[in-house]
């Protein structure tokens, strides 16, 4: 507990100090890293814990961003209300996907969610009279300032709250059921776990946080196109972040997102070579540390947690 508290205090201190240490450009990179961290952790909850390998996270973020943007533009809804509405809309769509994919797993689920994502992206592109398609929707900014600091703290708080909620959920009986479903659905069901309920729950909650990230993104960047948020390669990036950080850990997803986002920007000076180096780094990590760079550390902490669980029972 003491160590946990210490980690939280250090994380808060680092988080608060970042805007003082970084120039505007790198602060933007930090904001995007935290945006991706929220997406990667929501995907980790769904895929890493509940075993539902979905490719729809970015599409759901897109639904959150467009809902929030359009509510602000067309109906002049307060932006925070719009962001929450966007997250709820994403959760609703997540519910629909969950019901449709209940009997799907593995490649079928992946293909379904890819098709769904493309369907959403192309529809938003095609409906340009409403969404302005590739021309881009001009979205009001969350704050009337050119400073990035308020945006940084906003996404930091959003991420912290989201991680707290997801973390509590995953440490509860629901997290245990998610993992049992991931391991073997039939066996989980034979152990009394209502797999339909918990698969839907995982999809809806994960979609809510993806939508929340999307809503923030819309009001941060100020210009929204379907391709700017919903392209399949972006989904690949989110998955890479989670996998590199460790697919069974929210903290791993956050660390993976920050590492990959900063690495991408740092290597930008190398132009085309950065993709080669970045790709090579990915290949090496996936080859030699399939559970991510942070997995060995996570495993040690998890073993201690399990030990504590058993000791408290003894």
């Amino acid at each position: 507990m003491r160590r946990y508290l210490l980690t939280v205090i250090v994380a808060v201190m680092v988080g608060v100090a970042i805007p003082l240490l970084l120039r505007a450009y790198w602060l933007h990179v930090a904001i995007m890293a935290l945006f991706y961290a929220l997406l990667a952790s929501s995907w980790t909850m769904l895929a890493g814990f509940a075993g539902q390998f979905s490719f729809a996270t970015m599409a759901l973020a897109g639904i959150g961003s467009y809902t929030s943007a359009l509510l602000a533009i067309k109906f002049h809804l307060p932006m925070w209300l719009g962001i929450i509405s966007g997250a709820l809309m994403a959760a609703l769509v997540g519910l629909l996907i969950a019901v449709l994919v209940l009997r799907m797993s593995g490649p079928y689920l992946a293909l379904f969610t890819i098709a769904f994502s493309e369907l959403v992206r192309i529809t938003l592109n095609a409906e340009y009279q409403f969404t302005r398609g590739d021309m881009g929707l001009t979205v009001p900014h969350l704050y009337a300032t050119i400073s990035k600091v308020p945006y940084y703290f906003t996404i930091l708080i959003l991420l912290a709250c989201s991680l707290l909620i997801m973390g509590l959920l995953l440490r509860s009986r629901y997290g245990l059921f998610f993992r049992a479903i991931r391991e073997h659905e039939e066996a989980a069901s034979a152990m009394g776990v209502n797999i339909v309920r918990y698969k839907i729950m995982a999809f809806v909650i994960s979609s809510f946080f993806a939508g929340l990230a999307g809503g923030f993104f819309a009001h941060y960047v100020g210009t929204l196109t379907p391709n700017s948020i919903m392209e399949i390669p972006r989904m690949g990036l989110v998955i890479a972040m989670s996998v590199i950080g460790g697919i069974e850990s929210l903290a791993g997803a956050v660390a993976g997102a920050i590492l990959v986002e900063f690495l991408q920007e740092y290597l930008r000076e190398l132009e085309m070579w950065r993709f080669v180096i970045f790709g090579l780094a990915l290949v090496l990590i996936l080859r030699f540390s399939q559970n991510g760079l942070l997995y060995p550390i996570y495993q040690r902490l998890a073993a201690k947690r399990v030990e504590a669980l058993s000791e408290s029972a003894a």
Partner: protein, 238 residues
């Protein structure tokens, strides 16, 4: 306690179970035997709700259960193991034990601390309590079988269905499993056991059901079954 009536299961054009009827009484230890493909595992899958029957009905304690989802059947008191052991590999032994305990709605179960105590008791009974912090994937095949059995006990079921509990198990461990089954049976639990290990199943069961090509060909005591020509023919014809 459990009544199976005219149970039919078709997979496309293949009839895996054909008008199967039998009953299981309270605290009975029923063995189901038969050659490969005779419909033994399908029968367990139908009773546990993993599969839905094409025709027929299953009644447990006076209520139809054949249209219920398997989690509901488990909660009503029918636990099962799988032909290929299905423990949750990337979860610890203790976490495996907690899944069935916590899946029961709160109003019906005890506190989490009670469940943990009970899990330790069961692991102790099965002599694998020293492995409680291990990931299930690190356990041997035999230990995984014991964990699967222990996990069922956390449901506190009235009926335990074991699918090939002796397959691939060391002879010493096999004897241990025999003892566990006998002890649990003495405590009042009802067992349905499928096994190709005829020595074990004849030694344990008081009554045997023999299936061949989805049809019940014989139902009786081990002595009656041994002398039945249809059984000999079914096995020799395999």
């Amino acid at each position: 306690m459990l009544e199976v009536t005219n149970l039919v299961k078709d997979f496309g054009g293949v009839r895996a179970v054909d008008k199967l009827s039998f009953t299981v009484e309270e605290n009975e230890l029923l063995g189901i035997i038969g050659p490969n493909g005779s419909g033994k595992t399908t029968t367990i899958n139908l009773i546990s709700g993993s599969l839905k029957p094409t025709e027929g009905q299953i009644i447990f304690r006076g209520k139809r259960i054949d249209r219920l989802p398997s989690y509901e059947i488990a909660r009503r008191g029918i636990g099962r193991t799988f032909q290929v052991t299905q423990v949750f590999l990337r979860m610890s032994v203790m976490e495996n034990m907690m899944v069935p305990a916590l899946s029961i709605p709160k109003s019906d179960g005890g506190s989490e601390a009670d469940h943990k105590m009970r899990a330790l008791e069961i692991l102790g009974f099965l002599k694998i309590d020293h492995l409680r912090n291990e990931y299930a994937r690190n356990l041997s095949g035999g230990q995984q079988k014991l964990l699967e059995l222990g996990r069922i006990l956390m449901l506190d079921p009235d009926v335990i269905m074991l699918d090939e509990p002796f397959a691939g198990v060391h002879p010493e461990l096999k004897m241990e499993i025999h003892e566990y089954i006998r002890e649990m049976h003495k405590e009042g639990r009802t067992f349905i056991i499928i096994s190709h290990d005829l020595q074990s199943i004849f030694g344990l069961s008081k009554r045997l059901l023999v299936l061949s090509e989805g049809v019940k060909i014989c139902d009786g005591t081990p002595e009656e079954i041994k002398d039945d020509e249809r059984v000999v023919e079914a096995y020799l014809g395999e």
